[in-house]
């Protein structure tokens, strides 16, 4: 099972075993990892699932869709080059991911 490492804005980390096919958002929310709000439950409507993806992992992810790109301009903490909406990142077998959550989502 792939492991997702969530680091919060204070630097505290948590490792969660993820089911391939689930999103990085779902994996966090279902297991009670704080820092990702995800009000819309993954339907790309709220921009409260913002994460910063580690540089090395970023290149392995499928590209950002136009809608995600627009939504990223409206996140509570300003986007950076490594920003993604975690509901749009699917976990793939054999691929660990490292993400950092912003100080706030709302």
């Amino acid at each position: 099972m792939p492991t997702i490492t969530y680091t919060d804005a204070d630097g505290q980390t948590r490792d969660v075993q993820a089911t391939p096919g689930d999103s990085v958002m779902e994996t966090a929310v279902r297991n009670g990892v704080p820092g990702i709000v995800a009000e819309c439950g993954g339907s790309l409507s709220c921009a409260t699932c913002h994460v910063f993806v580690d540089e090395e992992d970023l290149a392995t992810l499928p590209p950002v869709s136009d809608m995600e790109d627009e939504m990223l301009y409206g996140t509570a903490v300003d986007r950076e080059d490594t920003s993604r909406l975690s509901c749009q990142i699917r976990v793939v077998d054999g691929q660990d991911l490292h993400v950092t959550t912003p100080a706030t989502q709302v």
Partner: protein, 422 residues
């Protein structure tokens, strides 16, 4: 030692239990609901789940291990039918199966139920409503035998389901009694845009049209007879004519109700102890500048989450008034509608449009004050309006009128009000 009993384990109930644990509350929590399923999110039932693009598992709020790990006693399949409550807010809830659940404090998160159509034929097999997972499962199970669908009601659920069923290749007619779509929740320009879009995808939309009765073909639904006598063929009829808040339990324990359980800014009902949250609760209008005494009952995920948070604070002894800006989304096929704020009381509107990209935002103002926006495929406008409203910032009408300008770029501190001058 009986703790908090939350009745209703959907969006509001789940948010209350999980918010309490996130706040560090350690008291016992029982989260009880009458459905047989593990707690799940409803919005996709008319959209992605119906279209088959997400799995049932992905609708679950939490993993199975979350509940025991966080000391939340999750009870499924128990319907509370009677509550004995003392003056201090504690008591015992009795379920239909005869089980009893003692509580120190009760939270009602019992939601709403579909308003039923009252006319001939509504009890025929194939006449469906869409509120919960069982409704959605039945809808999906019937689809293989369905070609013609009639949706009665042009509100969010009706339109979303119509769009999903069209995507699935069904022939859909949507009948709405009002002269425009979603008249209750969006302005005219938004209704017009939705109408044009959905007609262009092949949905036959009949506005200002009422239904006389539902007709049978052998012992199953066969058609929908309109007021003018025309009969629309139907293998399946989906009724989406609004919901009614579940206030029966609240009324039975003497709580004041009027279109929902009446609660204050902290989600506390009229007995001073019991809480009511989500679709079943009617609360003071939280919008900044709302007329004093004005009340609202929301039917949205955002409200269920926000009100649950306020209730969680109240339970932990901290007074936090409901202050969030109401927002809502509705994905209708290729249309993503996002609404921020409440447009009630607006005196002018501004439309920003990029027709080529199917984008349209309508901003609602009272004088210079921005109240709300309906945004179609325009998430940037939506997020900018939501942020401005939440932070008490202004988006000047004149600046926003230029569709080339980003709303975020023209957001500025609100002018200091001088007397009544604008």
């Amino acid at each position: 030692m009986s703790g908090l009993l939350v009745v209703g384990s959907s969006q509001a109930g789940v948010s209350l239990a999980t918010s309490l644990r996130a706040l560090g509350h350690e008291g016992p929590i029982t989260l009880l609901g009458d459905e047989r399923h593990r707690p799940y999110q409803r919005p996709a039932l008319s959209k992605e789940w119906l279209q088959g693009t997400v799995t049932s598992e992905s609708l679950l709020f939490r993993s199975d291990s979350y509940w025991p790990e966080h000391g939340i006693d999750l009870v499924k399949g128990e319907r509370v039918i009677r509550v004995d409550k003392a003056d201090d807010g504690s008591g015992v809830a009795h379920s239909m199966s005869g089980a009893q659940f003692a509580f120190d404090r009760l939270a009602l998160a019992v939601g709403a139920r579909p308003r039923r159509l009252v006319m001939e034929g509504t009890d025929l097999p194939g006449v469906l409503y869409l509120r919960n997972a069982d409704d959605a499962l039945e809808l999906k199970a019937r689809l293989p035998d369905v070609r013609d669908v009639v949706v009665i009601g042009g509100g969010f659920i009706g339109i979303e389901a119509a769009a999903s069923l069209t995507t699935l290749g069904r022939s859909v007619t949507l009948v709405e009694a009002a002269p425009r779509l979603v008249a209750r929740a969006v302005g005219e320009q938004t209704s017009a845009h939705l109408l044009e879009h959905h007609r262009s995808t092949g949905i036959e939309v009949l506005l200002g049209t009422s239904v006389r009765r539902i007709t049978a073909r052998s012992d199953h639904v066969g058609g929908v007879e309109l007021a003018d006598g025309r009969v629309l063929p139907a293998d399946l009829v989906l009724v989406g004519v609004g919901v009614v808040p579940n206030t029966g339990l609240a009324e039975s324990i003497g709580l004041n109700c009027a279109d929902g359980v009446l609660v204050d800014e902290t989600a506390v009902a009229s007995d001073g102890h019991t809480m009511a949250i989500g679709d079943c609760a009617n609360q003071p209008n939280p919008m900044p500048g709302a007329p004093p005494g004005d009340r609202v009952r929301f039917e949205s995920v955002n409200n269920a989450i926000e009100q649950a948070k306020v209730a969680a604070y109240a339970i932990t002894g901290r007074r936090e008034e409901y202050a969030g800006i109401p927002w809502f989304w509705s994905n209708q096929g290729a249309v993503k509608l996002q609404i921020a704020g409440l447009s009630t009381g607006h005196d002018r509107t501004l439309v920003r449009r990029d027709a080529g990209k199917g984008k349209q935002s309508v901003l609602y103002y009272r004088g210079e004050r921005l109240l709300a926006a309906d945004c179609i495929n325009s998430p940037l406008d939506f997020l900018a309006v939501k942020a401005a409203l939440s932070k008490g910032l202004a988006i000047p009408f004149v600046a926003a009128a230029d569709p080339a300008v980003q709303l975020k770029a023209v957001t500025q501190p609100a002018p200091v009000p001088v007397g009544t001058a604008r």
